[in-house]
Amino acid sequence: MKKECVAMLLAGGQGSRLYVLTGDMAKPAVPFGGKFRIIDFPLSNCTNSGIDTVGVLTQYRPLELNSYIGNGQPWELDRMDGGVHILPPYQSATGATWYKGTANAIYQNIGFVDMYDPEYVAVLSGDHIYKMDYSDMLRRHKDSGAACTISVMEVPWSEASRFGIMNVDGEDNITEFAEKPKEPKSNLASMGIYIFTWQKLRQYLIDDEADPNSQNDFGKNIIPKMLQSGEKMVAYRFDGYWKDVGTLDSLWDANMDMLLPGSGLNLLDKKWPIYGRTPVCPPTFVGPRADVGNSAVAKGCTINGEVKTSVLSTETYVGQGAAVTYSVVMPGAVIEDGAQVSYAIIGEKCRIGRGAVVGAPPENTADPEQWGITVLGPGTVVKPGEKVAPKTMLDKSHNEEVEA
């Protein structure tokens, strides 16, 4: 049946800058905020915005993501007509190709979008933490009669050169787009969230595919091309919380933001709920000698030690005398008695042995260059008494990975 707007969620990236965390899974499947995974945010935004047809474009290590999304029921995307669809690259009579770029991923699924014959298509990223009402953005898109609406937010001028910057006129029509400009003319950064009028985008995708020099990327090719061709493109200003969690530091930051009043990311916000698939487990037990403060705790945990300014995901265990501070602990991890974990991201089902020390506070490290967040990939076992230095990244075979 015809839909007004279909969302296409780009979830195929490896997330190589999350290093050991994405060794076995795509970035959008990485756990976030105790109960969620990153992809819960865009999916829940769709549900809350009334978009009931979502294509999820997957490519890198899709098993975890596919099984997590399943039939889409947690997001109410198990619909008779529409719902969530996983769209991996496929083979066709003329051959098989991987998704060459973000635009190519949509190009290869023109047939999927056409099936719903939508007026508009929202192109979303699977690795952003934010709560946005796409229906409001869509209203702006329709009212302005644009071919493309790009959601933007003001960033500090000092950081503007790290983003794709939109220069706009007095009516927020986009006049110029500059990818990571050295001397930014504006501080409106693209958030990588687009709404297109489908028939326009469809043609640009076909033309882009025919161009052998194109990298088939939205930011690098499609958007500049549309601007060049004089299409009406408008900016949609967003002033809520938004973070690209593509790096370990930003992933850690976003988790910590959830604990920080006034950060804009309110954990207990009831107005714009984030849905997720949660495992079946009993409530959390906080033991008689536990000391929990400024922390988010999901269900199924057992806490017998100290947990300060940290995020504990479902079914994690903190033993007696253990201390977890300024850390993100992902589902099923076990921190045994007396272990110390600070400024760390502990992957799913890791086991930190008795008395082990993982990470350290910055004030305990002499050389600031040597300090950083310590990260353990899923399934890593740290032996009792072992020390894992700050800024170290370990995977489950204890191979150390170094930040490039």
Partner: protein, 370 residues
Amino acid sequence: MKGMHGIIFSYEKPTGLRELTDHRVHGSVPFAGDYRVVDFMLSNMVNAGVTDVGVIMHGKCQSMLDHLGTGKSWDLSRKNGGLTLLPAFAYAERRESVGQFRGKMEALGCVKEYLEHIRQDHVVLGDSDLVINIPLQDVLRDHLASGADLTAVCTAQLGDSADTYFKLDETGRIIDTVRDIHTPEGYRCLNIFILSKELLLHLVEDCVAHNQYSLRGGVLQRLGDQLHIRAWIWEGYAARIDTIQAYFERSMELLRPEIRTQLFCPERPIFGKENDAPSSYVDPDGQCVNTLMADGCDIRGSVKNCVLFRGVQIEPGASVENCILCKGTVVKKNAIVRNVITDKYVTIRENGTLMGHATYPLVIARGAEV
């Protein structure tokens, strides 16, 4: 077909649950932070491979209907079989009954047509107010191996004198069934029974014909000599939630790890209704010890020895000890609360003091502001 069909009894009956059953039947009383009591029996059945469950309800069943819905949370929303809700709509016209079912056989008699259409060759009957995590597939296996007509689950742990007790012979056969005895002895009946569909239909017909409405009186006692009735002795945890005192003590017991490991074992998970609450948050000044805490709580005061359901808010300066706070309870600033059970969406006002006693906890009805 082979396998078991589940029947859960969830009709209104007199209990000592006071305010907690003002709006609901005892089976849908909230328990253990994230569940309704009925979730345990339902999960037991599902974990034993039961795919079809009928829930017989009568009386204040709105809350139970809401809770069970299509049965999706227990994976019982199926094209064939699945969960069937059996409210006693046609009941009033039947016989001389008034208001409540007087016993299990009467309840079964009212859904006889449903029973006739059961696909499986065996049926397990269970109560909705029993907190237990039991491998029912083992009970069925032993039932089949023993060649018994009826197997009744019981425990050596004695309870009230009002409970039903079995006397067994050395082979495990039940030779006498008694209740209201001065000093409880023998094995306490846990009201879980397994029998063939065929026998069940026969017994229902026979009991209706003889004006027998209770399973104890009409079957266990009356036909005890004619049927081969065996006991299956359960050595694990079982708790019936039928009085406020039992509710309070059983809830507080959950703070002991050895009780929780018996109730929440990974090989037989207890399924509750899924929810979208975020993680709970404990503030820098919040304190939370020896407490069972569901999702979505916001702890800014002090909490000790409590069971907190979803979305409980404890404001700064408030102090809560030995309490059971149901979903959405708000304890405002500087309130002091001890030995209190609050039903859903209760608000305790600023600077208020509410004290119950461990042997007589205070119960606050749903939605009250005190």
